[in-house]
Symmetry: none
Subunit: 189 residues, 4 copies
C-alpha cells in the first residue's frame, strides 16, 4: 500500500533531519515508521533512494510558501520583499531538511536529479521575471532564464548563511534581509 511508502518517506525525513543522513540506520527509519525491517526493502532499495522523494517534498513546501506569499500583480519592490521573506521563512522552518539535502545530494549520484526536482522553482522565477520585464519593471538586458537561477542562488545562499551556519539575532536577520532586498532591487533594475 501507498500508506506504508508514505510512512517510510515521512519517517526518513524525520530521521535524516534529526540525526543526519549518515547516522540514520534503516533500523531507525523502520522503527520510526512502525513497520518491520524487511518491509523497507519492498519500497526502496536503500536509504539514499528516499532522497529524491524528500527533495520533491522540500520543493513542494517551497512552492506552497511562494504561492501563498507572493501576488504577481503587486509591484516589483513588494514582490521582491515578499519573495525574500518567503525564502527566509521556509529556510528557517525546514533548515534541517535543506542541510540534509545539500549533504545527501552533493555526495551521491542523485546530484544530477536536483536540476529537474528544482524546476518548479526555476519555472516560477522565470515567469516572475518575464512578467516584470513585460511591465517594464526590470532591466531590458536581463535574460530571464539565466537570471532566474542566479536570483534563486542569491536568495537561498543568503538564507542558508543565516540559518544553517550562524545562529544570528533577530535584528541581525532583519538587517541582512534589508540589505539583500536592496541588493536584489538594484540588481534587477
Amino acid at each position: 500500500m501507498l500508506d506504508k511508502k508514505q510512512k517510510i518517506i515521512e519517517a526518513t525525513i524525520e530521521q535524516f533531519a534529526f540525526k543526519g543522513v549518515e547516522n540514520t540506520k534503516i533500523s531507525d527509519i523502520v522503527k520510526a515508521a512502525g513497520i518491520a525491517q524487511g518491509t523497507f526493502y519492498l519500497y526502496f532499495p536503500s536509504k539514499f533512494s528516499v532522497m529524491p522523494e524528500i527533495a520533491k517534498y522540500a520543493v513542494e513546501e517551497i512552492m506552497k510558501e511562494i504561492h501563498s506569499s507572493i501576488d504577481l500583480s503587486d509591484d516589483l519592490d513588494k514582490k521582491i520583499e515578499d519573495l525574500v521573506s518567503a525564502v527566509f521563512r521556509i529556510t528557517e522552518s525546514k533548515k534541517e531538511i535543506f542541510a540534509m539535502l545539500y549533504a545527501g545530494l552533493a555526495q551521491s549520484e542523485h546530484l544530477k536529479q536536483w536540476e529537474s526536482i528544482y524546476s518548479p522553482f526555476y519555472d516560477w522565477m522565470y515567469i516572475f521575471l518575464q512578467q516584470s520585464m513585460e511591465k517594464g519593471e526590470i532591466r531590458k538586458n536581463i535574460n530571464c532564464a539565466r537570471t532566474s537561477r542566479i536570483l534563486i542562488g542569491l536568495i537561498e545562499s543568503t538564507a542558508e548563511q543565516l540559518y544553517l551556519y550562524d545562529s544570528p539575532s533577530n535584528d541581525e536577520i532583519k538587517a541582512q534581509y534589508k540589505e539583500l532586498v536592496e541588493f536584489t532591487k538594484s540588481a534587477l533594475k
Copy 2:
C-alpha cells in the same frame, strides 16, 4: 612529525574528492598516505575530523586565486569580471573538494567552524567593497560587511550550479558568466 599529518591531509583530500566522503574508508586514506592504519589515529580521531583541515586548504586555494587574479586598483567593472572568473575557475578546478565540503560540513558538528574558516574571503571582500565605496564606484547605501557575504553567496552559488550540478557547455558557461557579471554590476551600482 607534521610530515605524517600533512600526508594524511593530502591523502584524505585526494580520496574524498575521488570517491566521496562516505565511500572513503580509513584504510583507503592510509593506503594513499603510505602509512599504517594506527598512525591515522595518532593525528585524527575520525575521517570527519580531517574536514576542517581540508576546508582551510580550500579557502587558501581560493585566496591564492583571488590575490593573483584581482588588482584592487583596477576599475570596478574590471574587478567584478576578474572576481567572478576567479571564483568560476577555482570552483571548476576544485569542484570535488567543494562538493565534499558542502556534504561534510552540512552534516557534522563542524558546521559552525565554517564561519571562521571562511573569514579570509569575507575579510577580503569587505576591503574590496570598502575601497570601491571610497572611490565612489558603488551605491552609498551599501553596508560593506553585510554585502560581502551576500556577494560571495551570489557568485559561489552560481558557480556551483554550473560546475557541481550541471555539466554545461562552454558557451553556456560563458553566457551565464556574462549574465552574472551584469547582475552584480547592477546590484552594486
Copy 3:
C-alpha cells in the same frame, strides 16, 4: 528464540572454562555455538555480560550436588561430612568455572550481583543450621544467618586452595578433608 541464547551461554561456559575469560574471543564463542557473529550481540552486549548467567548455572550445579548428597535428617556429623565432600566434589568437577567466576566477578561491575546469585546456597545453609540448632546439635550462641556465610566461606576456600591453586595427591586431599571436617564439627559444637 531462547534456543540461541541457551546455546550462547553453553558455548561461553565451555570456552571460558577451556581458555579463560580474557583469551576467549567473541568469535570463539559463536564458533562453538554454531551461530553467526552478529547473533551474539542480539542477546548479549559483551562476553562479560554472560557471566551472571554462568554464575547462575554454577550455583544451580552446587545446589543440585548439595540436595542429592545431604539428607537433612541425618545426624550432624554425617551431614558435615557429606556437606564438605559435596563442596569438594563440585569444586573439583567445575574448577575452571569457579576460577573463571572469581576472575570475572572480581573485576567487573557485576560483583554486587554475586550476593543475590549465591543466595540459594546461603538460604540452604541457614536452614541446615537452623534445624541443627533446633535438634540441639550445635552451640546455642550461633547466629544461623551469619554463620551460614562463614561456613560456606570456610569450606569453599579450603576446597579452592586444594583444587584451584594446588594439584595435590589424593592422600593429601583426604587428609585435608578430615582436618576440615574436624575443624567444622568443633566450630559448630
Copy 4:
C-alpha cells in the same frame, strides 16, 4: 635503575586497583609512572608479569599488619581477636588490590606461584598454632600445618565477603566479626 622498576610496580598497583587488570593498558601504567612507553619493556615483558611483584607487596603488607597487631605471648582468645581484626583491617584498606589479585591470579599461569608468595603467612600461622598447642590452648588432634591453611581461608573469605562483595554497615561488620571470632575459638578448642 631500580628506581624505575619501583615506579612501574607502584604505578601498576595503582592502575590495576583503580581500573582493573584488563582495563589497564601499558600506556596507562607508563603515564602514571612518568616514563616512556618503551621503558616498561626493559623491566617487564607484560603487565601480567608485574602481578607477582604486587602479590609480594600485598603479602608484605599483611605480614606488617599481623606482626604489629599480635603478641604471640597473649592468651589464645586475645590472639584470635587480634588476628581476625588485623585481617579485617588489611582487607578493608587494600580491598582493590586483593580483588585484583584474585582476578589476576585466577586467570593466569601465575596461579601456582600464589602458594610460595603466600608462604610467609602460612608459616606464621603454623607457628601461631604450634605455640598455642604447646601451651595447651587448642585441641590436641589439630594438625598445625593443615589447619593453618584452613584458618587463613576462613578468616580471609569472611573478610572478603564483607569488604569486596557487600558494602555493609559498621554494626554489621562488628556483628560478623564477633560471630567469626566465636566460630574460630570454638573450632580450635
